[in-house]
């Protein structure tokens, strides 16, 4: 045949693993083939399918930034068969990568705007490259407000980066947990309530949110109360996927294929879906 088969992943090696929370690891992987590595260009919001050979393949947002050219990073929560197998991998082990797939957060359209990032749990993963991209081009954007919630302080995913986020100019980080512990001095509140309290202005603003469906639902209601229109609220959808190529139809919701039409949508778009994701 000799022709490229889009189901065959690129081989990659696991470079490093950081335990971010008790069930989330940050994996840095490097594509083995230098030509593939050089050509692997992506944007914040795009995803790839990772293979743990023998266990299967699953989609993950790419949480690094392409310009760093220092491997691809993925924040993987141990939640099913494939993620459990990925968690077992050690530096030097081989895994498969297919991608990048999907659309991206259109940060180029948000230049000059205030950005509100609202993330819960592992939902912070796809938002991390958005935050870091804005921070690297800090003067292109207005105020940056990050509201990040998790079940417990230990579950706040990108804790090693909080200092940098807090110290960045015109940037505010609001952390909250459902249950505190003895050391926790911060908020104990649900994310939508924090959004309500902090009350970001919808003027010249874009809100980007990702988290559990229940958090999204109430956050959306609060943002609307604050005056955000559906077109100003962006999210990235999670869906079962087997191919990433618009073929297997697993991610088909209404007339959309999340893998190709998404995963990034405005709530204006989602409100017009026939079927709610």
């Amino acid at each position: 045949m000799g022709l490229e088969n889009p189901f065959v992943p690129y081989l990659a090696t696991l470079k490093s693993v950081v335990e971010l929370t008790p069930d989330i690891k940050l994996l840095k992987v490097e594509l083995l083939d230098p030509a593939v590595r050089a050509g692997f260009d992506y944007k914040p919001g795009q995803f790839a399918l990772l293979s743990a050979f023998g266990q299967g393949e699953a989609p993950f947002g790419i949480v690094s930034l392409p310009q760093h050219r220092d491997g691809l990073e993925f924040a993987v929560r141990r939640i099913g068969t494939v993620t459990a197998a990925i968690h077992e991998l050690e530096p030097g082990d081989i895994l498969g990568v297919r991608g990048p797939f999907g659309n991206h957060f259109p940060l180029e359209d948000y230049v000059g705007k205030n950005i509100v990032i609202i993330g819960g749990g592992i939902g912070m993963a796809p938002l991390r490259p958005v935050i870091n991209q804005i921070l690297e081009h800090r003067n292109d954007y207005g105020k940056l407000l990050i509201i990040n919630g998790a079940r417990t302080p230990q579950d706040l995913v990108f804790a090693p980066e909080f200092q940098a986020w807090m110290e960045a100019p015109r940037t505010k980080l609001e952390l909250t947990v459902d249950r505190g512990d003895e050391q926790w001095r911060g908020r104990v509140a649900l994310v939508p309530n924090v959004v309500k309290e902090v009350a970001p202005s919808p003027d010249n603003a874009i809100a980007i949110t990702c988290g559990p469906p229940i958090m999204i639902r109430y956050t959306l209601a609060v943002l609307k109360e604050l005056g955000f229109r559906d077109s100003q609220i962006i999210t990235t959808l999670e869906a079962k996927m087997k191919c990433g190529l618009g073929k297997c139809a697993r991610c088909n919701v209404g007339d959309k294929y999340i893998c190709q039409d998404g995963p990034v949508f405005t709530f204006e778009q989602i409100s017009q879906f026939l079927e709610q994701p």
Partner: protein, 331 residues
């Protein structure tokens, strides 16, 4: 120019084809009619309404290896499956040929599905017109016809003393190794299958998306998935790894949106929890989403799902129900 083949000509021709390539043809197996590779022409049956399963499985097998993982001295290598052989499918019905042409649209769209594409390129199609419509047939409502030559390379039409052969494509012409007599007569009149509303129900699916109709209809569904299994245009698939004694293969297999876990993501969230939502997905994909993306309704009117459903969920009734419900709800 149409050609004429006597019954003996047909057998001789099939025998010649069989020597050059894989011949996939209808075979009677324990009361079923299956399209499968044959080793001699005598295995082939020509006495059937339609095959029990559609020919999609030749191009998108019920289960196949996409690639295997090979380890040599600690180095891993991925070895993709390749398609080595030329084949010809003999005896597929025009509706099923249309089914293949329909699933071409998603599967051949770039980046194309490599194994499907290679099988398509290496397989020629010899269609066989229907002399009789089955009670469940409605191909003419779905853009096909019992004698539709559109999606085959050669079309044969049976007449009393032999077959009329129409060469449709160059690929078809290449299958003719000997010259047959010219057929100067007219083609027989095709049978008339039943009619159902089609394109006009597309807006109804959208309008009735949240109607209780779907839950009512799905109440008796057993989610046995037979509808997807026999359907020539259901192409959803699953991908899994299989490992045994150190060998690892990535497998792709047929799947169905009627399975409760079809859309469930890790962690348990499922956007389609009810049977009604799942059955609606089947019809909405065929009647609404597919036409929006790929122009035509993803049904060819072969009637297999009607024949196979153990609880008589009948797409013809669904189409009529949708039409009536829309009229009732006012448009």
């Amino acid at each position: 120019m149409n050609l004429f083949l006597s019954k003996e000509d047909l057998i001789r021709w099939l025998d010649a084809l069989l020597r050059q390539r894989v011949l996939v043809a209808p075979v009677r197996v324990q009361g079923l009619i299956l399209l499968q590779p044959v080793s001699k022409v005598a295995e082939v049956t020509l006495d059937f309404g339609n095959t029990t399963l559609s020919p999609k499985g030749w191009f998108l097998p019920p289960m196949e290896t996409l690639f295997s993982v090979q380890s040599n001295d600690g180095q891993q290598k991925l070895v993709p499956t390749t398609i080595e052989k030329d084949a010809v499918i003999f005896g597929l019905r025009p509706c099923d040929a249309r089914g293949i042409a329909l699933i071409d649209r998603p599967l051949l769209r770039e980046p194309s599905d490599a194994l499907y594409r290679e099988r398509r390129a290496r397989t020629s199609l010899i269609g066989l017109s229907c002399r009789q419509a089955q009670p469940e047939c409605f191909c003419t409502s779905m853009g096909s016809a019992p004698n539709d030559p559109s999606h085959v390379d050669i079309l044969l039409t049976e007449i009393d003393n032999g077959y009329i052969l129409q060469v449709i494509t160059e690929k078809g012409r290449a299958l003719l190794s000997e010259s047959f007599a010219e057929y100067k007569g007219t083609l027989p009149k095709p049978p008339e299958p039943g009619a159902v509303p089609t394109k006009e129900v597309v807006p109804a699916v959208k309008k009735l998306f949240d109607d209780p109709y779907w839950e009512r209809l799905a109440d008796r569904c057993l989610h046995c998935n037979i509808c997807a299994y026999v359907c020539p245009t259901c192409y959803c698939f699953d991908v899994r790894d299989y490992s045994d004694k150190g060998s690892v293969e990535r497998i792709r297999g047929w799947d169905s949106c009627q399975s409760p876990g079809f859309s469930r993501i890790a962690g348990g969230y499922n956007p389609r929890v009810t049977k009604g939502a799942r059955l609606r997905q089947r019809f909405a994909h065929k009647l609404l989403y597919f036409p929006e993306r790929f122009k035509d309704v993803a049904c060819v009117g072969c009637g297999r799902c009607v024949r196979s459903c153990p609880v008589n969920i009948d797409i013809r009734e669904v189409l009529r129900d949708l039409q009536q419900l829309e009229v009732k709800s006012g448009s």
